[in-house]
Symmetry: C5
Subunit: 307 residues, 5 copies
């Protein structure tokens, strides 16, 4: 066990040995194993955006086995997906990569309004499939937030008792904030705090912009001169907002974009003290060889092997 992983685990001393072991599995697996950094492969886009939009650019991805293989070969720390995708490979690839079962998901066939995903899996499902963690999305700023907070509260209690880790996707969205506000620095920092207070071990947020959404927050950011000019500044503030850096905070990649832009973003996350990335479409929509190369480059950035 590396010193850094030992240090990170020390932040979670209230958890039972089962959960600590699963956190260790996530931190020790793959190319970044032992560094305290994580790159996770998430594939929930089939449910969230539909199969063609997700897999037609690289049709190998229609087959659920493809993503297990990609995650394993690329050396990701973990692979996260909804029930069906994990069931379709968990036995074949048992023990080859830590799994995160996403327990709620939204589809794009659904009518608008303030978002609230459907529950699509359980802690028991995660256990029977050999997963290391559960994943769950909350949408702070939605009128339905209490429903989601109540669900994750219950699932978190159950997961921790069963020795699983808890990963929370915290994406502010809904009628209480503007579209621009969804990635505002104050809102993203707040989203990280909420996920931590709800008991998440690992928090996933979006890379924040310099926009400040809430008037009451703006006053403080200005008065206390919190630096938000560069991405690294903002990442640093988000990491600080996640219990002074004592919770693992990782960042999503978002929509497909140019590779160099992604690398710049990774550098910002790394320099600000972020713990890593969750990269879906930007990896599995490329041909496998490219994806492996691309993910390797991202990991090298995090590992400090490249600048």
């Amino acid at each position: 066990m590396s010193e850094r992983v030992r240090e990170i685990l020390s932040w979670y001393r209230s958890d039972n040995p089962g959960t600590l072991s699963n956190l260790a599995r996530l931190l020790n697996h793959g190319r970044l194993g032992g560094t305290g950094k994580l790159v996770i492969l998430p594939v929930d886009q089939g449910f969230e955006h539909g199969p063609a939009r997700s897999f037609a650019p690289n049709p190998a991805g229609y087959d659920p086995r493809y993503h297990f293989e990609l995650g394993i070969t690329a050396g990701c720390n973990a692979y996260a997906a909804p029930l069906g995708f994990l069931e379709a490979g968990a036995a074949d690839f048992a023990g080859e990569i830590p799994l995160i079962l996403k327990l709620n998901n939204s589809d794009s066939l659904s009518p608008g309004g303030d978002p609230c995903p459907a529950l699509t899996g359980s802690v028991n499902d995660a256990l029977r499939l050999g997963c290391s963690a559960i994943g769950f999305t909350i949408y702070p700023a939605s009128t339905q937030r209490n429903e989601m907070y109540g669900q994750i509260r219950e699932l978190t209690e159950e997961a921790k008792a069963a020795g699983l880790a808890v990963v929370v996707w915290s994406y502010p969205r809904g009628s209480a904030i503007s579209k621009e506000g969804e990635t505002a620095i104050d809102v993203v920092a707040y989203a990280a705090q909420i996920a931590c207070q709800l008991g998440a071990h690992i928090v996933k947020v979006k890379p924040p912009t310099a926009h400040i959404e809430q008037a009451a927050a703006k006053k403080i950011y200005e008065k206390e001169r919190i630096p938000v000019a560069t991405l690294a500044d903002r990442i640093r503030h988000v990491v600080q907002s996640a219990f002074g850096g004592r919770r693992i905070t990782i960042f999503s990649g978002g929509e497909a974009k140019e590779t160099s832009a992604i690398f710049d973003e990774i550098r910002g996350i790394r320099d600000g003290g972020g713990f890593g990335s969750i990269i879906g479409r930007n990896s599995f929509q490329r041909p496998k060889k490219d994806a492996i190369e691309f993910l390797g480059a991202v990991m090298d950035l995090y590992a400090g092997k490249t600048k």
Copy 2:
């Protein structure tokens, strides 16, 4: 056990032996037993459309025993019906044909609005009646989808633990899409993906048209030049969307129509790699002798005995 059935079962290796056995029962029973193809007899129309509209054309069908006999004699792989219809024959025909208990149903006496069927049975009911599977209808695109997804999630967990298979009817319908969109190729492929992600072993969708409903999807279909011109093309895309063909996808017959039109549709499903059909009104509303002949012809098409 045929090689093909063995292959199909290999896609479900995360399931317990109980569920694998019940999937094998469905695949090995009847005239198509062992071919990997299925023709299932469903009779839920008494609940869904009322008794006269369902059974007056062939009044023998008022008697629940009729459908057991039809399914058995015609050599269907399974017979699917709501609680009452199965209770009225399960003891008399015990062990003669695999049964699927439909756990939710809608009636036509009910007011409009976005659809959500009523729960009308349980996993325990399926077990006490000797069923091999539960059946469940979801309506993606309904404002009430979360309710349905949450119900099937819970029932699926319970059914799998009890060694049952899960068949999901996935019919997009509701205020988020147009009437034409209900059978649009992008929407049907998405509906198949959702059912698979929710953990279905067998997915039932409608034969899709070449219409594309969602703008975001249309862009991809055009860019990636996904073939949708013929029914076989579209079936192939739907089957691919069901985990690269690693989930059993079957198709509904829909409203009664001319026999030759049905046979053409079956050819399209077969040629596109579909796993079979669920045929209700087109079978039980004919006189028994005609229905048996008709179902035999359909099975011969699937078995490749006729073109």
Copy 3:
């Protein structure tokens, strides 16, 4: 055990011996015992319409013991009432008449809108009071039907496991149909089908009129020339709609009317193959002697002792 009762019980072979015994108790008790016909005394009007409207015409009925005595003396097959009325006599009259505990009820103090009765008792209550069956009202065509269907589904599963029989009052009512439609032949037949599909052993509907409510149904009734001209025709169609006559279907008496009109209605039910009647206000609002005479005459009609 008479041949006819044996035959009726054979329709319920999926049920456990406990439930079969209770069905046998209902069929074998009283003046019609063994004939396969039933006349049941229901007294839920105190809750449904208030005490004065129910009992002032014959004040002996304020006392809950009165109805036990009436049902026993008149030789009814069973006595059905809500929790309070059964509790007030179940110990005193233990074993003297089969009891049906009505598990939901509506009061007339309540505001309008689509109906959904309140739950007022449980399967455990039925067991501790020594009942043979539970009773439950559903209102198809109400916007709240899913609530009621879900409740009876759960109660039915529980009751059958506990060896009780299930009696469903199926009364279409609500914003999806017209007032006239509540007793339309297509709607009543559909209501019987729904109750059977939900797993009822005994279905209670209203005597239907020749009106046809739903356009889609009307087309079939005309095309298939389903006879609906006489009450006997219509009863025959309703009984056929209840699983081809393989479920016990009985009919309510409705509002108090002239005795000769009631007898005519009974003849129609009998000639159409109906299994009997549930008669409340028309019996307990008469003086006891008259009521016994009246119920005796009804039973004689069903028994074929009179025309």
Copy 4:
């Protein structure tokens, strides 16, 4: 055990010995013990109207011990209050007076609309505090009645299984009736019937006026010439509506008024066959000595020691 108490207990023969014992405790305690009459002290006004409006007129009542002492010294049959008030004295006064735990309550800080109290205690709370009964308020005529009926149904089942008695406050109120209708004779009689049908052992209603609220009821009251001219007439009708007098029906005192007016009301209740009174504000808002004298006078009226 007096003959009268023995007779009253005989009405509840469906209950278990635990519940019969607790009913006996209520009937045998205090100055009216053994007479079959009850005067109960209820103090829920702190929750319902706020502390100052309830206790400022006699500040000793801010202290929860005061009411235990008042009930004990005055010789009331029982003391009824919400969770907090009972917890604050149940140990100190254990075994000195039968206790009724009120399980739901409304506060006056809450917005209007059709009433539905909050649940504020449980059957387990009643048991651990040594109570003899649970108390519960229903508001027939409220759009939320099904919620309340469902709650009391469940609590009643649980209480009876645990050997407790059930006291129901039945106060029609809500959008389905007029303000005047809340105490109309037809409505109060109906409210008593509903509580009895829901399984209450003891029913508490308001003294009714001669007003008749519902048109359908008015027709019967006139046709059957039900006497409603005097309070005694109306009480007699309400008691009859409570299962022909075979359920204990007691009456509330309502707002503070002149003592002589209260005594007149008590005489009416007594002469009509009412079983007693629940008297809150009219007792605890007087100085203790006055209250004891006043309650003694009320009890003497019920006991027939004075006219």
Copy 5:
């Protein structure tokens, strides 16, 4: 055990020894231990107002360990926080300060409307983290009060059975009262009463103003000449409203303000017989040394060491 603590514990004689022990822990810990007074450190602002608004003024507070250390060093009676903050230190500081797990919280990203916090922890969480009490916020005057009262009812029952103490934050807020009414003397006194009746051991309310919100209350305050001119008067009335002073009532500090104003407020609370304060922002937003000095001064005021 001091006489005063013994006396206070005597008010809770209905509770089990586990709960009494935990109340004793709260009363005996820290600089005020044994005096019967309490100063509690609550840090839920990260969730309620966001991280920057809460911790940027004193960035040491981003780290959850900071607040444990502050509470311990300053000699507070207890430290209260949501799940995440307690989990992040409960093991490291086990046994060093009594903990209160706040089980519900609201965030400021959420849309407006009548307030109802989300559930964010459970009694089991409190037990596994070694807490002495649960904390819960109710908002009387909100349309959603029944939801909150129902939740705390259930949690209170569970907590008391598990030997925990219950602390209720009672903050009237919502469409039934004005903004000014939230701290009106009648409303605050009523809020204290409600919390006590719901079974709270410790009640936290805001220091009240002399405003009287409700017309029905105003009449009584004037008639009975309840003194409300000075803060001490009003505190005295609130304490009296909390079961005649037999429940521990403490007061919140509210928004940051000048230190001398706070000391004046503490004097008012002390002179009116209040049991202490909960002080969040006014302590943890100061530099640690200042905060310790400040909290020490507050405690000296309560202990009577200074005026």
